[in-house]
């Protein structure tokens, strides 16, 4: 700062005068009062977790200034969590990507190029990969945070245009097992009820979920229910005592991986004490052996004979008593309405689908389904895993509208809707996530598009897969708003995109609810919405491959303005043509309807008038679900019209207790589990850039049980090395009565190479859902030094 002698004297004099008389210069408040008035509030959904909170972004002088909850929304009733309240701060962040970046070799430095050049390169690389190595040498890896329009449009170009089913997304790492569970038990994906049951439930069974950290707003609703009605029972089953356990009447702390025994033992008690609902079982239920053969209640009872509460308590490690299991089973069965919640604790497991089946079993047995306050509700991790990826066709084996790739008539329906030749979509499902990155390692994939996610950090056993991604054999395009570990290590081409509220689109949350977020402000100059990128890239691709079918895929969207008109046209095509007559019928949920709603619409919603009422609160119930009426096969009150069960019944599965892939031994004596903290979202590329959130949790740490810590001489703050057969981390310790003895727990958000826990986790996966077992592996733990000052690390 340059200042003249005169100014210097003036300031000195004024300051010294002020300080000598002890005066503080008065604060001008009139500016503040005006600030609130000219702020315009734009309604939308929260960008972060799967709860689906409705929020309003405050915009002043076309800059975001604040974010608040929408009190009339049926998901959050005006509440938001800290990261939800603060995520708007990343919109103006200095590190936002604003120009396409390219490097020919991954060892080179990025240089800025124009959009035209960037899309030319992207189209050229994909086209040459297809020509030289075949259609299956290209792949798309998307995200449960991409808008439905984006996922749908990407998969349309890949399937219809490039003729490959290599369309995957990070929801494979997150809720694939829940999909498997719902399909095999209920015959239709996604929960029957929703959050509305929380306020009616009398017993809540929370297993494998730390909802207090991961779904704080839903946790608040559960807590409110408990506090207002102390007679409501809350049961928490988890190897780790967490914040969620604070409101629990009973906490069942078991050895990791033994929950299948617990769930079977609960079923044992229910069957033995005849607490099941005989009529419900007779009317709506089929029993299945593990192999899928027909069975009956008597056979089921024989199967359960091995799971006496005593035996299960022993298997579970001895901290739970047989009487506790009996008590839990009785309360589960006899309450007026029982709700179950789970998340990654059941899903991210080698027996993920089985664990899901066993929870559903309890609900089917006791008839704790379809009535008020009773539901088997899988909480989703990401804001649009349900809407965009499960419903929009974002996984390798499914097409939009819950259609299976493998079924020819369903493929033909999609081809017809798109106006492309029959047989254009290949019949074989593509690579699932773990197979896709294995194929990258094996150099089978030559060009890959990674959208809105950072697999370099989020894949289990990531060292192994990062090797392949870092090689120059695979050309990788990344679309993101910030640099991530993936853009740094793996990308050849980085395309800057518009953020939430800078583009328009729909998110579908846990409870089948689709909600619209309209564009509120312009993206930073140079950043573009994904839908525009796909369209422009698709046009160049059509040219380079000289393929009129690709042109046909983008034809309905040509010439539309990308901020609103283009996503609207995509949504219309998807909802009107592809969800028609499917169980996720969204024809009523047009942009016009969604814009009017404070929250959104729960499908099935076949007509606009019905959608305006909010849609279907409970599936399968006649009088509440229009599809249950239109698809009824008899006059019973519940109609299970789901596409996966030809007998239109609920199936009870006999699934035995099975060990996780890796169990502790003499060399690696500890269980390792990972999880999330309230202040950070996934790989921290957004929340790490909000200084309030970073300050609250600057780095990951390892939680060690006080007994183990005492034995190993670990004190709070000490640096601890955690090693598995795959990798090593060094983290500060928290000695905390959280994890059960013999188990350690690490948060997975940290980007620092020493604290990236996915280097240590195991990449075994569920044979059915192909979801990896992030939650359990064996490790050894040792103190390396006393406390050290650490710095947070963001790419």
């Amino acid at each position: 700062m340059v200042q003249s002698r005169r100014e210097f004297l003036k300031r000195t004099a004024a300051l010294s005068a002020a300080s000598y008389v002890g005066m503080t210069l008065p604060f001008r408040e009139e500016g503040l009062a005006r600030a609130a008035d000219d702020t315009v509030w734009h309604r939308g959904s929260c960008r972060l977790c799967g709860v689906g909170c409705r929020v309003e972004l405050g915009v002043k002088d076309s800059k975001p200034v604040a974010l608040r909850g929408v009190p009339k929304s049926r998901t959050n009733y005006g509440y938001v969590c800290m990261k939800g309240m603060l995520f708007w701060k990343v919109m103006n962040h200095a590190e936002r990507l604003t120009t396409p970046l390219y490097r020919a070799q991954k060892s080179d430095k990025f240089k800025a190029i124009s959009w035209d050049e960037a899309l030319d390169i992207a189209a050229g690389k994909f086209a040459s990969a297809v020509k030289e190595h075949g259609n299956d040498s290209v792949a798309y890896y998307g995200s449960g945070q991409a808008l439905t329009e984006e996922t749908y449009f990407f998969q349309k170009i890949f399937r219809g245009g490039l003729q490959t089913n290599n369309v995957e997304g990070n929801p494979r790492l997150c809720m694939a097992s829940a999909v498997g569970g719902y399909l095999t038990s209920f015959g239709a994906d996604e929960p029957i009820g929703g959050y509305a049951d929380i306020e009616k439930a009398d017993c809540m069974f929370i297993i494998g979920s730390n909802m207090a950290e991961a779904h704080p707003v839903i946790f608040r609703r559960v807590m409110r229910r408990k506090l207002d009605n102390p007679e409501v029972t809350i049961i928490n089953a988890d190897p780790r005592i967490s914040l969620t356990s604070r409101i629990a009447d009973i906490h069942l702390q078991f050895k990791p991986g033994t929950d299948l025994a617990l769930l079977n033992a609960m079923a044992h008690v229910i069957v033995k004490e005849k607490l099941y609902d005989k009529k419900f079982i007779d009317d709506y239920t089929t029993f299945k052996t593990g192999k899928g053969d027909l069975a009956d209640l008597a056979q089921y009872e024989i199967f359960l004979a091995d799971y006496t509460p005593e035996q299960a308590a022993k298997t579970m490690g001895g901290k739970v008593t047989a009487d506790q299991i009996r008590e839990v089973a009785r309360r589960f069965a006899t309450s007026k309405g029982t709700m179950s919640f789970w998340t990654m604790g059941l899903n991210q497991r080698k027996q993920g689908v089985w664990a899901n089946n066993l929870v559903h079993n309890l609900h089917i047995l006791t008839g704790q389904l379809l009535k008020e306050g009773a539901d088997s509700l899988s909480l989703t991790g990401q804001p649009n895993a349900c809407g965009g990826v499960r419903e929009g066709g974002g996984l390798c084996h499914i097409l939009p509208g819950h259609r299976l790739v493998a079924k020819e008539p369903l493929r033909n329906q999609v081809e017809e809707a798109w106006g492309i030749p029959k047989g254009r979509i290949p019949p074989k499902p593509g690579y699932h996530t773990m197979a896709m990155f294995t194929a990258v390692n094996e150099k089978k994939i030559k060009a890959m598009w990674i959208n809105c996610t950072s697999p370099v950090q989020s894949l289990p056993n990531c060292n192994l897969y990062n090797e392949g991604m870092a090689r120059d054999d695979t050309f990788i395009v990344c679309t993101d708003i910030f640099p991530t570990l993936t853009t740094e290590l793996a990308a050849n081409l980085v395309l800057p995109t518009a953020f939430h509220f800078e583009k328009t689109g729909v998110y579908g949350c846990t409870e089948r609810r689709s909600q619209l977020t309209r564009k509120a402000i312009d993206p930073p100059k140079g950043a573009k919405p994904e839908v525009w990128i796909i369209r422009e890239w698709g046009r160049k691709l059509a040219e380079k491959l000289n393929d009129p079918v690709i042109t046909q895929c983008i034809k309905p969207f040509e010439g539309l303005e990308e901020g609103y008109e283009l996503p609207k046209a995509i949504w219309d095509e998807y909802s009107q043509k592809l969800t028609k007559g499917r169980d996720n019928d969204l024809r009523g949920a047009t942009y016009e309807v969604l814009e009017q709603m404070y929250d959104g619409v729960q499908w099935p919603a076949p007509t606009e008038e019905y959608a305006l009422t909010g849609g279907t609160v409970k599936k399968f119930v006649r009088g509440m679900d229009p599809m249950a009426d239109s698809h009824a096969k008899d006059d019973r009150p519940y109609q299970f019209y789901g596409p996966a069960h030809p007998d239109q019944k609920l199936w009870i599965w006999m699934r035995p207790q099975a060990d996780p892939e890796e169990i502790p031994d003499a060399e690696y004596p500890f269980y390792l589990s990972t999880g999330r903290i309230i202040d950070h979202w996934h790989t921290m590329s957004m929340t790490g850039r909000v200084k309030e959130l970073l300050r609250a949790n600057p780095y990951a740490y390892i939680e060690v049980n006080p007994v183990d810590a005492g034995r190993m001489g670990i004190k709070p703050g000490d640096m601890v090395e955690v090693t598995s057969r795959r990798g090593t981390n060094v983290l500060p310790a928290k000695v905390y009565e959280g994890p059960i003895e013999g188990m350690v727990f690490v948060y997975w958000h940290d980007q620092h190479p020493d604290r990236m826990i996915n280097k240590v986790t195991k990449d075994a996966y569920d044979p059915g859902s192909k979801e990896p077992e992030f939650k359990i592996c064996a490790c050894k733990v040792q103190k390396v030094s006393g406390p050290k000052a650490l710095k947070p690390y963001i790419v």
């Binding site: 807590m223 300050r695 703050g717």
Partner: protein, 198 residues
């Protein structure tokens, strides 16, 4: 501003200084720097005798791995050279290394849980959770004595006064910063004012 007014102003403020009683000036040089969020390291003896006991050797500053402790400079008058922790900038991580190295017993050799640098006070008018703006549990999450020093009542933080060590981790992490720099949870060093029993 005209030259004349400027000269007037300078002359006025200078003469005002001379008019201040000498006692007041002297007081500002012997006033303890300990106040809200300005704390002595763990184990510190009361302020009454701190400046007299501390030999300003700076060992506590040197040993602190987190650089939480800094030395006061000449503006602190007779307290110049004594250690201080600015809780909202870098709090005390309770590694207890400073109490080990203090050669004079100004920092008494106490255990971590015996530390009493102050107590945390939640400003319920500022706190997002108490104001029902949002669900924030940051202070509870970062507290080294979770469930003991801070508990939650319907997700709202409550301080347990006789367990809080006053380390300031909560103050540092608190996402709320008011216009005057205060956080929604602040450390009041009440133990510093205890009288010494001779």
């Amino acid at each position: 501003m005209k030259r004349r007014e400027f000269v007037k102003g300078v002359a006025g403020s200078l003469s005002a200084t001379f008019l201040l009683p000498a006692a007041a000036r002297a007081l500002s040089l012997i006033k303890s720097p300990v106040r809200t969020n300005r704390l002595r390291p763990p184990g510190a003896v009361p302020e009454e005798i701190f400046a007299g006991k501390c030999i300003r050797c700076g060992r506590c500053v040197e040993v602190c791995p987190y650089r939480s402790i800094s030395l006061l400079d000449i503006r602190a008058g007779v307290y110049a050279g004594t250690p201080i922790i600015a809780a909202e900038e870098i709090p005390c991580y309770l590694c207890m290394k400073c109490v080990e190295v203090c050669p004079t017993g100004t920092l008494l050799k106490i255990r971590q849980e015996e530390t009493r640098m102050g107590i945390a006070i939640v400003n319920r008018h500022l706190c997002y959770t108490w104001q029902s703006f949002t669900i924030c549990r940051t202070c509870f999450d970062v507290c080294p004595y979770k469930e003991q020093a801070i508990t939650l009542d319907q997700l709202r933080p409550i301080i347990v006064e006789d367990r809080c060590v006053g380390c300031g981790l909560c103050t540092h992490a608190c996402p709320v910063t008011a216009e005057d720099g205060q956080k929604a949870i602040n450390i009041e060093p009440i133990h510093a004012w205890e009288r010494v029993r001779w």
